[in-house]
Amino acid sequence: MRVLLLPILLACLGAGLVLAQPAPVPEEGADSIADYRRMLREGNPGELWVARGQQLFHAPRGPNAVSLEACDLGLGAGVLDGAYAALPRYFEDAGRVQDLESRLVHCMVNLQGFDRAQLLQDAFSTGERESDMEALAVYVASRSNGMPLDVQLEHPRELELYRIGETLFHRRSGPLDMSCATCHSRESRRIRLQTLMNINSPVQVREVMGSWPTYRVSHGTVRTLQHRMWDCHWQMRLPDVEYVSDATVALILYLTEQGRGGVIDVPSIRR
């Protein structure tokens, strides 16, 4: 069904997509801004993924035929509102720092009985197969819409992973001597027409980090931060970074802390 629906939706959106990243707007008229944002969201195909994620999250699934409603995303079992805003965080029951997607994998394995290796393998949509994870992630993130990014960064393991993330961000390697900073540490730099986020610009990082997962028009699906980590490593000619690995969580924690205060507003929409 989506195959048919999407092109139509996209065609209807048309030029509207170009406007989809609103310029920063002044405080006054907060209501109309909220309306405007809602309007944009309603025209965003990513909303279909949010809806599917909601359905997937609350339905009994997996070998154990239970829903994810008992999943503790950091604020207690079943608490979704605001949970994403404080991720990644350290989870006692897992003994590690987890981002949104690692935590969802954890719950799907431990509560629902899914096979971990299979979940990792199916995490990104491909041409033939639609990912459940992308839908779940954007649904859970959307339950923090309007809230500021606010990672805890108190547990020693969180602090430690933050420092690792910062180091990894600046670590050059590979045939092209690249680090993340090569492309993401200057103002208004482009790769062709794509403007690159500058890690030294808090305003930009807040905006970026508050807007993932995002609907990527060129991919025809919602993509998550885990996917972005994979994509940028690929561009750097480095080996595939494993889904929900420590390296990805370290980078995401580092970026999220740099984006502290950024207001969550997902799904956004990107090229």
Partner: protein, 233 residues
């Protein structure tokens, strides 16, 4: 730059004594991207932690075969220059910069018959292409064709197409610089190992690292310098 405040860091440091306990009690998380629970990371510096994480935590598919005939593990290992530039955040001290420049000079290898210009049309394709060295389930197959230079990612080149802006515009390069022996040598060395001029530059060492061969460098140089090239129109 750090947005972490001091008290938080102090809290973190104070908590380090707890770490042995924490790590010892770290719960099980099965699966392959998992090894971190068992190690006391806190005894290491951030850099050591990063190295540990890269090589021991199964975060990367280090066993992927690469186009250069190694495994991806080698790609993740840093050479001295990469290490120094990472540590200094690309701001080497004057003394370090001097050493980097000297080493880059010593690394240069020149074509036997002198630095010649190749075919600017082929050079244009190489400058605008992004093929090469990418690893994935279907990695770039170098037996099909050689790697591109991907200059367009960082430079404006011909006025007809949009290039990147991580590096300076090279539009009209030959027209403004002329095609002298000195210019050829400079461009050749920039492509071979730009740290000879800009220590810890973001520009890759495409000759030194074997990304581009002699012929490819000659073709790209022609694209920058030849009067008929769109770069100089």
């Amino acid at each position: 730059m750090m947005t972490l405040n001091k008290t938080r860091f102090a809290a973190g440091l104070a908590a380090i004594t707890l770490m042995l306990l924490v790590t010892a009690c770290a719960g099980p998380e099965s699966g392959k991207a998992d090894a971190s629970g068992k190690v006391d990371y806190t005894k290491m510096s951030a850099k050591e932690l990063g190295e540990y994480l890269i090589f021991e935590s199964n975060s990367f598919r280090l066993d992927m075969p690469t186009q250069e005939g190694t495994t991806a593990r080698e790609r993740m290992m840093q050479d001295d220059l990469q290490m120094l530039c990472s540590q200094t955040r690309n701001q080497p001290s004057p003394e370090q910069a001097g050493r980097i420049i000297a080493e880059a000079r010593a690394s240069m290898k020149y074509p036997e018959g002198g630095i010649q210009l190749g075919d600017w049309q082929r050079g244009g394709n190489l400058a605008w292409g992004g093929f090469g060295f990418r690893l994935a389930d279907q990695s770039d197959d170098h037996s099909r064709r050689a790697a591109d230079g991907a200059c367009y990612n960082c430079h404006a080149l011909s006025p007809q197409r949009t290039g990147g802006s991580l590096g300076p515009s090279l539009t009209g390069y030959g027209k403004s610089r002329g095609d002298s022996e000195a210019t050829r040598r400079f461009i050749y060395e920039m492509i071979y190992n730009p740290h000879a001029y800009f220590p810890c530059t973001n520009m890759p060492r495409m000759g030194y690292k074997g990304v581009l061969n002699e012929q490819a460098i000659a073709d790209i140089m022609a694209y920058l310098l030849h009067p008929d090239s769109p770069v100089n129109k």
